[in-house]
Amino acid sequence: MKRALLFLPLIIFMGLGVFLYKGLGMDPSARESALLNKPLPEFSMPRLDNEELKVTRDDLLGEVFLINVWGSWCPACYEEHDEILRLAKEGVPVVGLNYKDERPKAFRYLSQLGNPYTVNLYEPDGVRALAFDLGVYGAPETFLIDKEGIVRYHVSGEITARMVDEVILPEVRKWQNAY
C-alpha cells in the first residue's frame, strides 16, 4: 500500500504530460491581423524598379492576389523565396512589398533568386505607407486579398511548402471561386 502511494508523483506528472502534449498542437497566440476581413487600406506608392511610377490600391484590385512583405536583410525571406516562386508558377499573382530595404540590395536579391512578383512596391525605412497600415512588424509577412480588395488571410513569418499546399493555395482557389 505504502509503495503504491509512492507512485503518486509519477501519476501526477504523467497527467500533466498529457495536457502538455495536447498543448503542443495549439497556438496560444494565433495572432490574427486586425485587418482580417477588412478592406485593404488605400495607398499610393512608388514601384521598386521605377521611382517615378506610382501604384495605387485600385491598380491592383480585380483579381485575387497575395501581398508578400520581404527585404534583402531578412533571412527568412531567402528561406521562403522558393515557395513564392512556386506560387507564381501556379499562377497566383504575388505583389511584393519591399520593406525597409535599399534598392541596390533588393535588385541583387531579385536577380540572384528570381523575381516571382507581378510588381514590387517600395517602402524604405522611415516611410510610413502600406506596410505600416497593414500593421507589419517584421518580414516576411503575407496577406491574401480577394477580388473586392478585402484582406482574407494573413501569415506572419516564413511560408513553408506544407502551408502553400494545405492552406494558401486552397484559400486562393476558394476566393477565386467566390462571388
Binding site: 505504502k2 509503495r3 509512492l6 507512485f7 508523483p9 509519477l10 506528472f13 504523467m14 500533466l16 504530460g17 495536457f19 502538455l20 502534449y21 495536447k22 498543448g23 503542443l24 498542437g25 495549439m26 497556438d27 496560444p28 497566440s29 534583402s72 536583410w73 531578412c74 533571412p75 531567402y78 525597409k100 540590395k105 540572384q112 533568386l113 525605412d125 512588424y137 517584421g138
Partner: protein, 660 residues
Amino acid sequence: MDILYLPELGQFALILALVMASVQALMPLAGSMTRQPLWLAYAQPAAWAQFALLTVSFAFLTASFLVDDFSVAYVANNSNSALPWYYKFSAVWGAHEGSLLLWLWILAGWTFAVSLSKGLPVEVLARVLSVLGFVSIGMMLFVILTSNPFDRYLPRIPTDGADLNPLLQDPGLIFHPPMLYMGYVGFAVTFAFALAALWSGKLDTAWARWSRPWTSVAWAFLTAGIALGSWWAYYELGWGGWWFWDPVENASLLPWLLGTALMHTLAVTEKRGLFKSWTVLLAIATFSTSLLGFFLVRSGVLNSVHAFANDPDRGLFLLMLLGATIGLSLLVYALRVPTLKARASYSLISKDVFLLANNVILVVATLTVLLGTVYPLIMDALNLGKISVGPPYFNALFVPQMLLLGVFMGLGPLTDWKSMRLDKLRKKIWLAGAITLVLGFAVLPWVYDGSWNLWVALGLTLVLWIVTTTFRDMWETSRTKKGWKGITLSRWGMYGGHLGAALIVLGVTMVSNYGEERDVRMAIGEPVTVKGYEFTLVSLGEREGPNFSADTAVVEMRNPNGRLQRTFRPEKRMYHVRGMPMTQVSIDWGPLKDIYVAMGEPVADDAYAMRIHYKPFVRWIWWGSFIAGLAAILAVMDRRYRIRVPEASGDKLTQARQAD
C-alpha cells in the same frame, strides 16, 4: 567576406562533447553493473573533456558573433553590424539556440565543479557524474538535432543581420540569463545526488550533507537571476511593475519555491535523519520544475512576453526529453525509495515540525502557481475556451500563503530540534511577539499616510516578526561560551536569508499599497502634480544612437516647496532594423522611493502622453533578494563542509584518489 570555419569547428566540438557525455554517463553505469571499479574512473576525465569541448564550442559561436559572420543563421537572426560589441557578446544567448548552448555549457561547468569536489567516495562521484551525463546527453541531442546554433545560410549569405531584439539590448540582459541558468542547472547537481543515492540504495545523512552546499549555491544564483529579471522588467519594459505573474516568471518561481523547501528539509535530513524520502522527492521535483519551465518557455505552449519560437517539432522533442528525465526519475523514486520509518521521534513543538510546515506551505504555493500557469492550457485542451489566469488569482492565494510562511520563519530558528516545551518557546518569543504586534499592527501602519490599512499592517507585522525573532536568536546564540564567534557561518547564512526575505516583504508591502501610477498628458510648460511633486515638460527633441533613433524629452521635477529636485531625460527609441519602438525610462531612485518617468505616445506637436510612477521602497525587493542570495553563499562557506569525512569504502580506487 571569406568563409570562416569557426562554426563548423564549434559544431564538431559540440558533437565530441556529446560523445564525452556518453562516456561519462555510460561507463560508470556499466562499471557498477559489472563490478569493474576501473570503469568508474572514466567519469571524471570525461566530465573534464566535456567541459573543455563545450567551452570551445561556445567560444566559436561567440567569435562568429564578434566578427559578424552573417552566414551563420543564428548570428544573422540575432545580430547586426551596427550592434555595439558588448551586445554582440550577449546576443550569443539572446535567442533559443544560443541560450541552449549556454545552458549546456553551464551544466558542463557544474559537472566539472562536482568532479573536483574532495571527500566524495569514488562510487558516489561516479554515479553523480553518470546522472549528470545523462541529463547532458538529452539536452545535447536536442540542440544538435533540432536547434543547431551553427546552421549556415549558404550560399545566400545575408548582407546584414536582423539585429538583436531591442528589448534585450540592455546591460541587465547581459547578466540575467547566465545567472538564471546557473540556478536552474545547478539544481541538476542536487538531482543527480538524489538519484545516485536512490541508485546505491544508501539514503543516509552523508547524502544530505553533500547535497546541501550545491543546493544553496544553485538557490543563490536562481534568486539573483530572478531578482535581476524583475529589475530588468521594471525599468526596461517601461510598465513600472516588478512582477507580472507572466508564465515565464512563474516558470522561474516554481524551482525557486521548491528549492527553498529543499534547502530547509535537507537541514532536517542531515541533522536528524528524518524525512529522507520526502527530501529525495523534493530534490527530484526541484530540477523537474526547472525542466518543466524550460519546456513551457521553449515549446510555445504558453503565451508570454519571453516565449521563444513556436515550433511544435521542438516542443515534441522537449516533451519526450521531459518525460524521459522526470518520468524515469520518479519511477526510480517509486521503486527504490526506502519505506522504513525513521526511528527518530519528534514532538509537535519542534524545529523538525516547523520546518515540515515550511515545506508543506511552499509545496502548496508551488502547486498554486503551477495550476495558475497551466490552467489556460488545460482549459484549451478540454475545449473549454481560451482563458488567461491573471494576477488576482495569484495574489489572492499566494500572498496569504507567504504570510503564513513568515510566521514559521520566525518560529523555526528559535525552536529546538526534536522537541521543546511550550513554556520555553513562549519565554523566547513573547518579547518579539509583543513588539511585533504593537508596532506592526497598531503603530507603523499609520506612519506613512496617516490611515490604517489591513494589508500594510499584516505585511509590516510580518517584517517585524521575522526581524525581531532573528535578532533574538542571534542574541541567544551569542550567549554561549564562544560568544559571537560561536555563531557559525551557516547560521549567519540563515539570518541573512531570513532578513533578506523580510526586506522583500517590506518592499512589496510598501510599493503595493502606497505606490501611485499616473498616465498623464504633458504639454511643454504645463505642470502636472503627482504625490505633491510638480512635473513640467521642458522640451522635446530627437537624437541618433548607433542602431536606433530616439525621441527625447526633458522633464523637471520640483518638490512641494518649488525647488528643482531632479531633471528626467526619458527616451522613446525606434530600433531601425527590427522597426521596434522601445521606451527608455528615467528613474530618480533612492532607498525610500523611486520616481519613474516614461514616454508614451505623442499626442500633439508639443505634447506627449507620459507615465509617471511613484514607487516607495521598491528597491528593497531587489536588495533583499541579493542579501538572501549572498547569505546562501555565506552558509556554504561554513567550515563543516570542508572537513573531510573518513571514507567507509576501502577499495583501491578510493585510496589512489586520496593519495594524490
